[in-house]
């Protein structure tokens, strides 16, 4: 609790959090007040920004602003879900492998390496193709399940080096169990690491979704920032000079990542008590 309070003394963290929450609430609240359908063909192809369409229209003549906010919601959901799934699996496997060591480490490391050498995008495509109904939740899960190995690697390396510290010995002779030591004596030391990995996972989750949507394997009939970019690419928005079709979604992705990175830097300062001043 005390640490949580401390977090709010970090300007970087607060700034990142505010930006992130603003984007999140924009995505969540806007559709409540504005009932426009993002897939509604409201105007003509690539109309520039005007009073009617604040951010212009896309190649199908749909309102970019409405699309953007619905897409923001979708992408955030997929990114957060994928990031959470990847982080949970990665931390679980990495922490166990690194702290317990021995044959457990060997086994888990082998599994991690297998996942690491198979390009996740290939697995992603194969799973996506084999699924009839690709809902948002399924997409997030698939992306999460294919992208955990890097987190596992980073966490394992950290846990291995922490395992031999004297405070772990002290915890042992104080009668703490293995699981308790992992949670209390190892995890706090790598918390900022994990959050940074989470941030990157969320960002790459959003990008992965965009990539897979571009191949037409994205969630069916839903607008996301990724599908917007892929439409812009397919219908040559860059060459036609229709900047409003691709800059807003690209900027939005950048803003999400930016806000998460700011939070992670702020957290690093707080979680590492030696940096507290």
């Amino acid at each position: 609790m005390k640490t949580l309070k401390l977090l709010f003394t970090s300007k970087k963290f607060v700034f990142g959090l505010c930006l992130f929450l603003t984007l999140l609430f924009l995505g969540l609240l806007f559709p409540v007040f504005n009932h426009k359908d993002p897939l509604d063909l409201a105007g003509f192809m690539y109309q520039p920004p005007s009073k009617e369409f604040w951010l212009g229209t896309d190649n199908f003549g749909r309102d970019v602003l409405v699309e953007l906010i619905h897409g923001l919601k979708t992408s955030m959901f997929i990114g957060l879900l994928a990031g959470t799934v990847a982080t949970l699996i990665g931390v679980g496997i990495g922490l166990t492998a690194g702290y317990i060591g021995g044959w457990v480490d060997n086994l888990l490391n082998t599994i991690t390496n297998i996942f690491l050498v198979v390009p996740p995008f290939v697995i992603l495509i194969l799973i996506s193709v084999s699924l009839q109904n690709r809902s948002l939740g399924i997409m997030g899960l698939i992306i999460g399940i294919t992208s955990w190995p890097w987190t596992a690697r980073a966490v394992r390396a950290q846990a291995t080096s922490l395992r031999v510290r004297e405070h772990i010995d002290l915890a042992k002779i104080s009668g703490m169990g293995t699981f308790e030591i992992m949670l209390r004596e190892v995890l706090p030391y790598i918390m900022s690491y994990i959050f940074m990995a989470f941030v990157l996972q969320v960002a790459s989750g959003i990008l992965n979704e965009a990539g897979i949507s571009m191949l037409g394997l994205g969630p069916s009939n839903i607008v996301s920032l990724g599908t917007m970019l892929s439409w812009a690419l397919l219908f040559e928005a860059v060459r036609t000079g229709a900047w409003w079709a691709f800059i807003p979604p690209a900027l939005t992705i950048a803003f999400i990542t930016f806000s998460l990175l700011f939070m992670s830097t702020g957290m690093d300062e707080i979680f590492n008590p030696r940096l507290r001043s």
């Binding site: 640490t3 004297e166 405070h167 010995d169 002290l170 042992k172 002779i173 104080s174 009668g175």
Partner: protein, 264 residues
């Protein structure tokens, strides 16, 4: 005087690595620790003294040999038995900073040692005891309880570790170079605190040190280790006045004295 044996170490051997990288850290070491005595294990870096200490604390499994407490081999201890062992045998480590989890306050570190107790004292009782042991080590509860380890000096941190020992009241304390990372001025006060443990709790203490002078000053018996082997053991006076092994003789020669000029 017939003293009871507290810990029986027999043919203790520890090997790290295998094949080409094989290192025998501790070779066939046997000794006893009696109740209410202070012994020192003296040796240079790499002599295997810390490895011996870690095995005695049940933090490391011996490759061969046994450590017995009250007739039971400690390597078979699991769960509750292990906790019981650590209730009787505790340790203090060399680096007072690394011994602390930097995310927890002093109060929490001390609170955690109650985990070893079968019956948990009430919150008031815990509070009372923590205040008492902090007093033993000349610290004020109000001043240090809510502090994080990085806010304390090395000497203060080591005193917290000693307070923790007073809280657990073990029968045997294994102190691995407890003063080597502390300012010379504070060393004697830390040593006195450790020695007071024998008076107060009737505990035995094992000092692991490289400093023969210190060992002579504090202990009843001295064990000399060299290259993983126990080369000599005996009462402190015997070792100093009548050393048998050449390595011991060399060690004694190397103890600097204040009154003689140093031959450097």
């Amino acid at each position: 005087m017939d003293k009871k044996i507290l810990l029986k170490v027999r043919n203790l051997t520890r090997v790290f690595g295998s094949k080409k990288k094989r290192v025998v850290a501790v070779k066939n070491v046997s000794f006893d620790i009696y109740e209410n005595e202070i012994i020192s294990i003296v040796g240079e870096s790499g002599s295997g003294k810390t490895t011996t200490a870690r095995m005695m604390l049940n933090l490391l499994k011996p490759t061969e040999g046994t450590i017995e407490i009250e007739g039971e081999d400690i390597s078979n201890f699991r769960g509750k038995k292990k906790r019981e062992y650590w209730r009787k045998v505790q340790g203090i480590f060399q680096d007072p900073f690394a011994s602390f989890n930097q995310f927890f306050t002093v109060r929490k570190v001390l609170d955690d040692s109650f985990k070893l107790f079968d019956v948990q004292p009430s919150k008031e009782e815990k509070d009372k005891r923590i205040r008492k042991v902090l007093e033993y080590v000349n610290m004020r509860y109000e001043e240090v309880a809510e502090k994080y380890p990085f806010e304390l000096s090395g000497g203060q941190r080591q005193r917290i570790m000693i307070a923790r020992i007073f809280l657990i009241e073990p029968k045997l304390l294994i102190a691995d170079e407890p003063t080597s990372m502390i300012d010379a001025v504070l060393r004697s006060s830390i040593l006195e605190l450790l020695l007071s443990l024998r008076e107060r709790e009737k505990s035995s203490i094992v000092f692991i040190t490289h400093d023969l002078g210190l060992a002579y000053y504090v202990s009843d018996r001295i064990l000399i280790m060299h290259n993983g082997e126990l080369v000599e053991q005996g009462s402190a006076d015997d070792i100093i006045t009548n050393p048998q092994h050449p390595y011991t003789k060399k060690l004694i020669q190397d103890v600097p004295t204040l009154h003689q000029e140093w031959a450097l």
